[in-house]
């Protein structure tokens, strides 16, 4: 029978990802949001290059003179004389000579009194293999150098990579903790919910910064610790959000339907409900990332952040006050610009994501 009606089967089934797709479309239309996305993507690319060692692997090398100025502004730095070890050596020699105690009058440990005398003499002979050539130090660098003569361009790349790594993995960990606990709490309710809510109340009753410092003070140093410490203090927001969502969704029809066809609790929680609240998680994730990048900066500024073999944006900021006092502005300027752009772009992206992924907005 001919029919003008298309067969129901030929109608494209509503896509599973329609919300995501709609969101993407909306985000593309939002010029600020899309621009922010590009900036964040660029940062991520640079960070990945630094993580993989393609960029800034040698940031710790002392390639320039201490506080070498930026090439374009070589005359805008303070005109201090930076002393070096040779100056001090020479001054000490002169002082001794002036005091009349030249090297012939000098006393000290005689070889006969030194238990290591023979070994010391032999070590002097064998030292040659450890002598290394000093590379010439640059007078200026594109973005200047810090006190140790390290290239600020490399340092800020490495620092951004560290801060992003800390921010992203900290946010992921915090989100995981918050989601799992929130899901359990909201889905099962009852005594489990009460217990978790008590735990939550305890955590939120302590001011964030205080809790952060307390954790940081008892644990050691390094990126891993910072990530764990920050995740442990910032999971509470996503916990409350997820708890409410699961509470709301668990009595919806589609969950009951899943129950009717015999889906287990775990499947209902993580296969059925979770995808329906995932847009909230994405927003939460980017918000947390921004917050944690800032937290890391504060921790490092207070001396509890990454160790000295690593560098982060916060650790660079911590060096700024003493440098500014001496008039060396370039590290401060670089890190401020890099960090503000990153944090602003991430925050704007979060806002746009929230708008784009809101199912109520058409």
């Amino acid at each position: 029978m001919p029919s003008s009606n298309p067969l129901p089967l030929t109608v494209a089934p509503p896509s599973h990802n329609s919300l995501a797709r709609q969101g993407w479309r909306r985000l593309r239309r939002d010029r600020i949001g899309f621009g922010s996305l590009c900036i964040v993507a660029l940062y991520l690319l640079l960070a990945m290059a630094a993580w993989s060692g393609l960029l800034a692997r040698h940031w710790q090398d002392e390639v320039a003179k201490p506080f070498a100025p930026p090439t374009l502004f070589a005359n805008l730095g303070p005109q201090h004389v930076e002393l070096n070890a040779a100056d001090i050596d020479a001054a000490n020699q002169r002082r001794r000579a002036a005091a009349g105690s030249d090297s012939s009058a000098a006393t000290g440990l005689d070889a006969s009194e030194d238990p290591l005398a023979a070994d010391m003499a032999a070590a002097q002979q064998q030292a040659a293999q450890y002598h290394s050539e000093e590379a010439p130090k640059a007078d200026t660098l594109p973005l200047g150098a810090d006190q140790r003569g390290r290239d600020i361009r490399q340092k800020v790349l490495q620092g951004t990579a560290t801060s992003l790594l800390v921010g992203l993995s900290g946010a992921l960990l915090a989100l995981t903790i918050g989601t799992v606990l929130g899901a359990l709490s909201g889905y099962f309710g009852g005594l489990l919910d009460d217990l978790l809510m008590w735990g939550y109340s305890v955590f939120t009753s302590v001011p964030d910064m205080l809790l952060l410092l307390a954790f940081a003070a008892v644990s050691g140093r390094g990126i891993g610790t910072v990530v764990v410490v920050m995740a442990l203090t910032s999971w509470t927001g996503s916990y409350r959000l997820m708890r409410a969502e699961f509470l709301k969704h668990k009595s919806r029809e589609y969950v009951r339907a899943a129950d009717a066809i015999g889906a287990s609790h775990g499947r209902r929680m993580f296969h059925h409900i979770l995808p329906n609240v995932s847009h909230l998680l994405l927003v939460q994730f980017s918000m947390l990332t921004v917050a944690l990048i800032k937290y890391e900066a504060i921790l490092s500024f207070l001396g509890f952040g990454v160790g000295i073999t690593q560098v982060s944006l916060g650790a660079m900021l911590a060096e700024a006050p003493a440098e500014l006092l001496q008039g060396y502005w370039w590290q401060m300027l670089t890190v401020t610009v890099v960090m503000s752009v990153l944090v602003t772009a991430f925050s704007l992206l979060t806002d746009s994501l929230r708008d784009a992924l809101d199912p109520k907005v058409k």
């Binding site: 201490p66 303070p78 201090h80 004389v81 930076e82 002393l83 070096n84 070890a85 100056d87 001090i88 050596d89 020479a90 001054a91 000490n92 002169r94 002082r95 005091a99 105690s101 009058a105 000098a106 006393t107 000290g108 440990l109 005689d110 009194e113 030194d114 238990p115 290591l116 070994d119 010391m120 032999a122 070590a123 002097q124 002979q125 064998q126 030292a127 040659a128 293999q129 450890y130 002598h131 006190q147 140790r148 003070a217 050691g220 140093r221 207070l302 001396g303 509890f304 160790g307 000295i308 073999t309 911590a318 060096e319 006050p321 003493a322 440098e323 500014l324 006092l325 001496q326 008039g327």
Partner: protein
């Protein structure tokens, strides 16, 4: 009639300005670390001592201007000393009163010999746990029995002790077990200022917060760790400035400002605690502070440093034009890093352990840190006793030559092989890692970068143990640290105060390295019996050689401090031993 009026006027003129400090004058100063408290028998940090110095009176004190520092009478005349140097008799000046306090029940309380006896005995009291007990333990005849009788409980202060005898109300007789040539300088420390027993007993739970003394100032306000306010003690005895100037032009300026005037001059001293360098310096530049040390980061801004001779400096023009006053002083101090000598990795006296310590010392670039961190305002340390302190030997070279290449070769010779990961392992094949304790400020971080560099050059793993100073100090007392940096400033200008830092009986106390060496101990005990002179110097040289050979310390540097005062500050001269000069300062804005 006229004559009488004139006389009355004259009397008024001489009485009014000369008797009291000007309560309208407020001196603003800052300290760069928090105080711990104001009980002289319980605190030993520089910052608390600086306050205590102004609240309490020791028996004797130092002349403000004389260099080298000269002891002068304070609440007592200079004592008469017996021929064998063991019996000291002090005559306390009558008519000195404690500041008013509720514990005195409204009566004036006069300072007597018994107060000093009580104050000295408190350092022996096991329940007080004085950090200065190493200065008094075993020093006084009969005191050991008293301490033994107390056990772990409180000392019985009423038991008469032969060595600490109150002869009459104003006479105190101290009898030493052995001759001690520094005894009078020890008694001049703020720790031996007089406290009143009633006050201590009335505030037994918190003596640190309730200081009552006979000194020029009293504690008016205390916000722990942030602000301390002192006010001139209205009942302070009449003390007239009478120090004799030397050749220094600073002396003449001080005398011109203070000659014949009563002390203190300034009615109120406000002490702020500012730990970071930048805010400290900015406060000074904004005239929120009257006197301040120049922080290291500001040195190049404030001073014109001659690169050929970094200790030759002058005040930068912009500050000189404002009339700011610069004063400089090489500190009677040593800065060093120590190894925990009881530690299984870095301690011990076998050759391979010595080699490890020696290698670390050889790899640390002292001169580079003097250039970059101290901005040239320090000299390398080469002897345990610093210059300006009796017993110093300027010709001695204790610090090993900076030579990381030879240090590596030395480690190779003792079996510290480089393992598969590029780092060295111990001779017995176990992994090697050294832990260095450190604070958390930006300045600490700068130092740590140099340490990291040194250990990287040696290919030894380095970890940092970060903490607040008092936490690390506690951990070190329990032997839990491996390495830590320390500064020791002279309590009195004698080498003994420094050589005792490695005496085994002071281990865990002032001997932070827990260094125990029988030869060193024997020489130290022998040196105690000698006055300052060539004979004792010979012993000190021998002890220094032991320390250089064993390397419990890495010799660091000795700072040259630069202090700036605003143009209107009068009467300032830095003193090597007095912590403050507040009572001598006058403000003429």
């Amino acid at each position: 009639m006229n004559k009488h009026a004139l006389l009355a006027m004259l009397a008024a003129c001489t009485l009014l300005p000369a008797t009291a400090a000007d309560m309208n004058k407020v001196l603003h100063v800052a300290m760069n670390a928090p105080e711990t408290g104001f009980d002289p028998a319980k605190v030993s940090d520089l910052y608390s001592s600086a306050i205590n110095e102004n609240i309490y009176d020791p028996l004797v004190s130092y002349d403000y201007l004389a260099r080298p520092a000269k002891l002068v009478a304070n609440t007592s005349t200079l004592p008469s000393v017996s021929v064998d140097g063991k019996v000291y008799t002090f005559h306390i000046k009558p008519g000195i009163y404690f500041a008013d306090d509720a514990a005195f029940k409204g009566k004036k309380r006069e300072l007597t010999a018994a107060d000093y006896a009580y104050s000295i005995k408190r350092h022996l009291d096991p329940t007080v746990r004085s950090p200065w007990s190493f200065l008094v333990d075993g020093r006084f005849v009969g005191a050991d029995e008293l301490v033994k009788a107390a056990g772990k409980g409180a000392l019985n202060y009423d038991t008469p002790v032969e060595g600490i005898k109150v002869v009459d109300k104003y006479t105190l007789q101290l009898t030493l077990t052995e001759t001690n040539f520094n005894f009078l300088s020890i008694l001049a420390m703020p720790a031996f200022g007089a406290v009143a027993r009633e006050v201590i007993e009335a505030n037994r739970d918190n003596t640190n917060a309730h200081p009552v003394g006979t000194g020029p100032y009293l504690l008016k306000e205390w916000k722990p760790g942030s602000k301390i306010v002192l006010e001139a003690n209205p009942g302070y005895r009449k003390v007239v400035f009478d120090s004799v100037p030397g050749n220094d032009p600073v002396d003449r300026a001080v005398v011109k400002a203070l000659q014949g005037k009563t002390l203190p001059r300034v009615g109120r001293v406000e002490v702020a605690i500012i730990e970071e360098e930048q805010p400290l310096w900015l406060s000074f530049l904004n005239r929120q502070l009257d006197v301040s040390g120049i922080p290291q980061a500001a040195l190049q801004d404030a001073l014109v440093i001659n690169p050929k001779n970094p200790l030759d400096v002058k005040l930068a023009d912009k500050y000189a034009r404002q009339g700011m006053q610069l004063q400089r002083q090489q500190m009677p101090e040593v800065n060093f890093h120590f190894f925990n000598m009881q530690d299984p990795v870095v301690g011990g006296d076998s050759k391979d352990k010595i080699a490890l310590r020696r290698a670390i010392a050889m790899a640390f670039p002292v001169n580079e840190t003097i250039a970059a961190i101290r901005r040239g305002q320090a000299v390398p340390m080469n002897y345990i006793v610093p210059a300006g302190v009796a017993g110093h030997n300027p010709a001695f070279r204790g610090a090993p030559k900076y030579d990381p290449a030879a240090a590596n070769a030395l480690l190779d010779r003792f079996g510290y092989r480089i393992g598969e990961d590029g780092y060295r392992i111990r001779p017995d094949g176990k992994p090697l890692a050294v832990e260095l304790a450190s604070g958390t400020t930006a300045l600490n971080k700068q130092w740590n970068e140099y340490w990291q560099q040194a250990f990287d050059k040696l290919k030894i793993h380095l970890n940092f143990k970060l903490g607040k100073w008092n936490e690390l100090a506690k951990a070190n007392q329990q032997g839990k640290l491996q390495m830590w940096g320390m500064a020791w400033g002279a309590d009195y200008p004698d080498g003994e105060n420094f050589m005792q830092l490695l005496y085994s009986k002071n281990a865990g106390d002032s001997n932070a390295a827990d260094f125990k060496n029988a030869d060193y101990d024997r020489l130290f005990e022998a040196s105690l019996k000698l006055p300052d002179g060539p004979e004792r110097n010979k012993l000190y040289d021998a002890m220094n050689k032991i320390v250089v050979a064993q390397q419990p310390w890495i010799f660091g540097d000795i700072r040259v401090r630069s202090t700036l005062a605003q143009p209107y500050v009068k009467g300032l001269k830095l003193h090597p031993l007095l912590n403050t000069s507040w009572r001598y300062l006058d403000l003429q804005k």
